[in-house]
């Protein structure tokens, strides 16, 4: 399978009063047509910034400082704003966490969809209405034609997120970046949306980057998982293997803190401490201050260790160490 999206050494920085803040540091991955990957990490790990960087939506004082993002073979880093705009929405689209905030409360859903349509195509009002109706029907909104003239507040949270998904799918993009699209929704609705997205991805061959802090949501959806910590990828691999047999202590911590990993009545385990400020990262491995396995070696930043189809950034990977002891 050929990659629709190829990211190599992506770096995004923010210029702050206290110095340069490296929010995304040397991120590389690739995405094949129709593939869903999960980008997982705590808040502040840089996963959202990664998503925005892919679309070239980093506002000053932030900037993409280096690396390469190739979408359908075209290099996006360094592209003019106009060329980028013509690709956004048409080749790569994004949906956000809070559907209440993303839709304009003062415009009807139909007006907003028509705007998104007109951004890339010249269509008559009649044709636009047809296309928008079709798009709403595709994401499972009942009586879509009538709903075009409704305002966002007349939809429920889940329905609003479906509208946002319909807008993202209008031009059948190759890639959709979904930034925590179910976090603001009720659990029952979450499952619906996840199932919907999975079938849409399959049906249209849309590749998806699903950004979430919740490993449980990602586990049922993604074929590959990237775990981010402090702006870097610390572990990457096929979803099933990362979840069943994690290598990086941070991934182990995330898995341990899932309610399903703990027996009923036993307090949930947590990762001790909080993510360090990106302006004051410890030398060496950024996870070292919170890590139970840390040794003096960790004062040097570990490189990516690659083993077949997975890789990790740690001197003391969980599964591997125990194997060595056993052998």
């Amino acid at each position: 399978m050929s990659a629709v999206l190829e990211v190599r050494g992506l770096r995004t920085e923010f210029l702050t009063a206290a110095g340069i803040l490296r929010a995304v540091d040397d991120i590389s991955f690739s995405l094949s047509a129709g593939e869903i990957i999960g980008l997982v990490g705590e808040s502040g790990s840089g996963k959202s910034v990664t998503g925005f960087s892919l679309l070239g939506l980093i506002d000053p004082p932030g900037r993409i400082a280096g690396g390469s993002v190739r979408l359908n073979g075209a290099e996006l880093v360094g592209m003019t704003p106009g060329e980028l705009r013509r690709r956004r929405g048409r080749e790569i689209a994004m949906i956000f966490q809070d559907p209440i905030a993303t839709l304009n409360p003062l415009l009807t859903v139909g007006q907003q969809m028509a705007m998104a349509l007109a951004a890339h195509e010249r269509v008559s009002t009649k044709a636009a209405a047809d296309r928008c109706t079709e798009a709403l029907a595709r994401v499972g909104i009942p009586s879509p034609r009538a709903r075009l003239s409704a305002y966002p507040h007349e939809f429920s949270g889940g329905m609003r997120q479906r509208v946002a998904i319909a807008i993202a799918l209008l031009h059948r993009p190759a890639v959709i970046v979904a930034d925590e699209p179910t976090t603001a929704l009720d659990v029952s609705i979450q499952a619906q949306i996840v199932a919907e997205m999975r079938s849409l991805a399959r049906e249209f061959g849309v590749a998806m980057i699903w950004i979430s802090h919740d490993l449980a949501v990602v586990s049922g959806l993604a074929s590959r998982i990237l775990v981010m910590y402090a702006g870097r990828i610390v572990e990457e691999g096929p979803a099933a293997r990362v979840l069943r047999d994690p290598r990086h202590p941070y991934t182990c911590g995330l898995l341990d803190s899932l309610p399903a990993a703990t027996a009923p009545g036993v307090p949930l385990r947590q990762i001790p401490g909080a993510m360090p400020s990106l302006l004051a990262l410890p030398p060496g491995c950024a996870f070292q201050p919170r890590c139970a396995c840390a040794t003096p070696d960790c004062a040097v930043a570990p490189e990516m260790t690659v083993e077949r189809d997975r890789s990790w950034r740690c001197f003391h990977p969980a599964g591997v160490a125990s194997e060595r002891v056993a052998s």
Partner: protein, 325 residues
Amino acid sequence: MLGFVVQRAFQAFVVMVVMSMIVFVGVYAVGNPVDIVIPPDATQAMRAEAIHRLGLDLPLWQQYGVFVWRLLHGDFGRSFVYNMPVLDLIGGRLPATLELVLISILFATGVGVSLGVYAGVRPSGLVAKSIMGLSILGFSVPSFWVGLILILTFAVSLGWLPAGGRGETVEVFGVPWSFLTLDGLGHIVLPALNLALFKMAMMIRLARAGTREAMLSDTVKFARAAGISEGTILRRHVLKLISIPIITVFGLELGSTVAFAVVTETIFSWPGIGKLIIDSIGVLDRPVMVAYLVLTALLFVMINFTVDLVFAAIDPRVRSGKTRT
């Protein structure tokens, strides 16, 4: 929608009743206007006669009753000083104030919102900083002093524009207007600019703050992610999002501009109701004061009512009875 209108109309009515009471009691509680209308050497009998004629011997609540009764018949009483019906007096002066206020506030809003949106889109540029400097200046400099400087610069030093009066007027529908003649337009420029400056500063701030907030909103981010161009985002999303606070303030400021016209009219000898009220306050001409205040209150209530209706037209959430945010 109809329920909404009825509810707001009832609120407006209650406000008017309360306001008329406050104004009446406030104005009538102070000073004795009899001294103005009778000669200083008047006998006690003449004095008593005058008090009786003006109805000042009745208890206050009866005076208020008479006042309201007359009010409902369109009778605001006669001015003690000009000795003519107050309504005619105010009606004759009203067009001058109206044209001054409307021209100022339209100018202030048009220019202020454009500058504010620009400053909000590019907040760190030099132009934006100059615009904000201008707005702080407009906010801080007392309006009467701006008037003085305008007169000093354009009337006294440069001699380009007249310093006072309405100039030539044209009658349309029996009402004289200045802005329709070249001479009248020349006369209205300085007072209108004077009156507009403060409002413009306010509109700049409002539009800038609203634009900055809107530009950082998820709505705009989502629109960008959909590939919608910056121009379209600005026109369709941002302008729409900032329109609500701007319309509120426009409405409120329309009223306060009528109030501020008092200062501008005094400086530029503009023969409107503002100049009239200042003159009337000076001589305690109660009927004029009461009529001015009640009419201004009515104007405010009507403006607030209209703003509420416009809100409902713009914001679907208000229409459907949800609280506005």
